[in-house]
């Protein structure tokens, strides 16, 4: 018997490997499908009645309340860029291109990506935790029993608010980032201020701004969908129940959102280029 087990060992390992990979694949594909349906339902319910008030309040929470932290990050990102790019460009005698380098980096890439990551950290985690707690305390079931569609009431306003807030905050990020670059490049390191702004204006095209906003819209949809989905189905997690499931859902929401922001950034950029 033992001998037969020894003979079958490689086969068993292979079966075990494929079954693990297979299970993971089925679960992942299933989750993506469920998330797509979840987003679709959440999105179409934005346009139903009685949504304006909730969307406004969520936009205030996700957008307005995140603006300070986004602007703070934008300022220091711009300042660091100004510092780094100044010392790089000075080696090639092209300090005049500082405005172009900073503005293009911010508008095309850093603005949408860092804004999305900051909102994920601040509002995305809160979305997942809030919905998870509502799920665990049966408040989502209570909504259903009162004839209120939980997806319409809880999810759609968050998706709508994210789609509104992400591009607006990205615009703020870009603007404050450029000012941050001006502070280090012009005020502290002495580059010409007129050249800086001339380069900013001349190098940025509408295509760059549009591309940045498209990314922000995509990130808004992805982050809100992932965070709400993780919270909404936290009771179905196999790795934890109750308060632990809310914690795990919040962690997953932030980690998956950040990864998906970078993955989708590449995909969208490759389409836009």
């Amino acid at each position: 018997m033992k001998e037969r087990d020894e003979t079958n060992k490689p086969v068993n390992m292979l079966v075990s490997f494929f079954s693990t990979v297979g299970r993971w694949t089925i679960r992942t594909v299933g989750n993506f499908g469920a998330m797509a349906v979840f987003f679709f339902l959440g999105f179409i319910n934005i346009f139903r009645s009685r949504q304006i008030r909730e969307i406004t309040s969520q936009t205030y929470y996700i957008g307005a309340k995140s603006s300070l932290i986004v602007m703070l990050v934008a300022l220091f990102t711009g300042m660091v860029l100004g510092l780094q790019l100044f010392y790089t460009l000075v080696k090639f005698g092209s300090v005049g291109a500082l405005g172009s380098a900073i503005s293009l980096s911010l508008v095309r890439e850093l603005g949408p990506v860092l804004t999305a990551i900051m909102i994920t950290a601040r509002a995305g985690s809160a979305m997942a935790a809030e919905i998870g707690i509502l799920r665990n305390s049966e408040q989502i079931d209570a909504l259903y029993t009162m004839g209120v569609d939980p997806i319409r009431y809880l999810i759609s306003p968050k998706i709508a608010a994210s789609i509104i807030s992400f591009p607006l905050l990205t615009a703020f990020f870009d603007l404050i980032g450029i000012i941050g670059g001006y502070i280090t490049g012009v005020v502290l390191l002495g580059t010409n201020g007129g050249t800086y702004f001339y380069r900013v204006q001349s190098s940025i095209d509408m295509v760059d701004i549009r591309g940045g906003f498209i990314k922000a819209l995509v990130f808004g949809a992805i982050v809100s969908c992932i965070c709400c989905f993780q919270g909404y189905f936290c009771h179905m997690r196999s790795d934890g129940f109750g308060a632990k499931s809310v914690g795990l859902a919040t962690v997953s929401a932030v980690v998956i959102s950040c990864v998906m922001i970078l993955v989708s950034d590449y995909v969208v950029t490759s389409f836009l280029m």
């Binding site: 009685r50 305390s137 049966e138 408040q139 079931d141 209570a142 259903y144 029993t145 009162m146 004839g147 209120v148 009431y153």
Partner: protein, 417 residues
């Protein structure tokens, strides 16, 4: 049962992760009745309730609503039915970021096109009905468990539902509050005329107010029918379960539980010579009049005082007592002739003035701001019992002989009730 069932489960099976929770369940729930579902933990009581409102769907079998299978209904038709069902969750499930008023008004705000003023008026009406006016601007976390339960009940009733599902509405409450919640359910059922389906283990009171009892047993239905019929069934496991729920003591009054009373009575019959006579007395107080006059909590406190006093008084002379309906107490006097029993009841009624009536007077004087006045009579019927008599026969005989033994009279004017 002639009327067709309102809700019918046909061969319903539900599994979670391979574990069968409901196994081929068949049951019927009828309109305008209070149906109580009992069963051990994990037998699928809440699961059953969640199937009724559509929070869960059966893996096998069908649920019929007024004769039509739910799974064959169109979405709009089912939504129409579902909007008439309200659900009171075991943990209340109040929206914790909203105030009491916002919670109660929420279903109207979300599901109707009523003007804001009308929504607020209706919500306030329910809030006042449930004596929550002082909590209107508070958040659920600022309220006691009992108040939260009342807010949940107000929210459940604000849409005037036809069916209300109560998932353990009395869990975690003290005996007075348990009875208050049950009284509230009955009061509002009479007032608004809904069908109540309730999970509760609050024995014996829940049985006093239920028209039908469904006992879930090992994934299936162990018994379905009136509580009295459940007691007559000879299924040892169910019998044992009912006894385990019953306990030894009635929590509200401190009197013997029904099962303990039965055991005492059997023991007495066994130890008493057949020719020796024993007697019994059936005491009663009209709980509904007390409730209307004093409020539910005060009425229950008065009933508690009567129970405790009766227990103390007759225990001292060898009697034993138990509640046999919400407001009736049966006392057995072993080896006492009817004359001796009458004498004991007379002494008891003379002392009742200090033991119970004073207590009612204190409560009434606390409520002296009320415009109405009321008289409360305590009745007693003394009867002889023979060894062949069942407890039900003794109650019938006692009821036939009931007369007023003590009265609390209104002494601050106003109309008598």
């Amino acid at each position: 049962m002639d009327a067709p069932p309102l809700i019918e489960f046909r061969n319903v099976t539900k599994r979670f992760n391979g574990k069968t929770v409901l196994d081929n369940v068949n049951l019927s729930i009828y309109e305008n009745q209070v149906t109580t579902i009992i069963g051990k933990s994990g037998t699928g009581k809440s699961v059953l309730l969640k199937h009724i409102i559509g929070l869960l769907k059966p893996d096998e079998g069908t649920i019929l609503f007024r004769g039509t299978p739910i799974n064959k209904m169109k979405k709009a038709e089912w939504e129409g039915h579902r909007s008439k069902i309200a659900y009171l969750f075991q943990n209340n499930a109040l929206l914790d970021s909203m105030t009491v008023l916002e919670n109660v008004a929420f279903p109207l705000r979300q599901t109707t096109d009523l003007p804001k003023a009308e929504i607020e008026k209706r919500a306030m009406k329910r809030i006042e009905d449930l004596e929550l006016a002082e909590a209107v601007g508070k958040f659920p976390s600022e309220l006691s468990g009992g108040m939260q339960k009342r807010v949940a009940l107000a929210r459940a009733l604000v849409t005037d539902p036809e069916i209300v599902l109560f998932d353990e509405p009395t869990t975690g409450q003290d005996p007075i509050r348990k009875n208050m919640i049950l009284s509230m359910i009955i009061h509002y059922r009479k007032k608004y005329g809904f069908t109540a389906i309730m999970i509760s283990h609050d024995i014996p009171d829940v049985f006093f107010i239920s028209d039908r009892v469904i006992i879930l047993w090992e994934g299936g239905v162990g018994f379905e029918g009136a509580y009295e019929d459940a007691l007559k069934q000879n299924v040892p496991m169910i019998d044992e379960f009912l006894r385990s729920l019953d306990g030894f003591e009635d929590q509200l009054t401190g009197l013997l539980s029904r099962e303990a009373f039965k055991m005492h009575y059997s023991a007495m019959l066994g130890s008493t010579a057949r020719e020796a006579t024993s007697s019994a007395a059936l005491f009663g107080v009209r709980l509904n009049i007390l409730s209307e006059a004093l409020g539910t909590q005060a009425a229950l406190e008065a009933l508690k005082a009567l129970g405790e006093y009766t227990n103390r008084y007759f225990n001292a002379v060898g009697g034993f007592s138990a509640r046999h309906s919400r407001d009736e107490i049966l006392t057995i006097f072993p080896r006492k002739t009817i004359e001796e029993a009458r004498k004991l009841v007379e002494d008891y009624s003379r002392n009742l003035e200090h033991g119970v009536i004073d207590h009612i007077r204190d409560i009434a004087s606390g409520n002296s701001g009320e415009a109405t006045c009321f008289d409360i009579h305590i009745h007693a019927g003394v009867t002889e019992i023979s060894p062949e008599d069942t407890i039900d026969e003794i109650i019938e005989k006692g009821r036939a002989k009931q007369e007023i033994i003590s009265t609390y009279r209104c002494d601050f004017g106003g109309e008598e009730q």
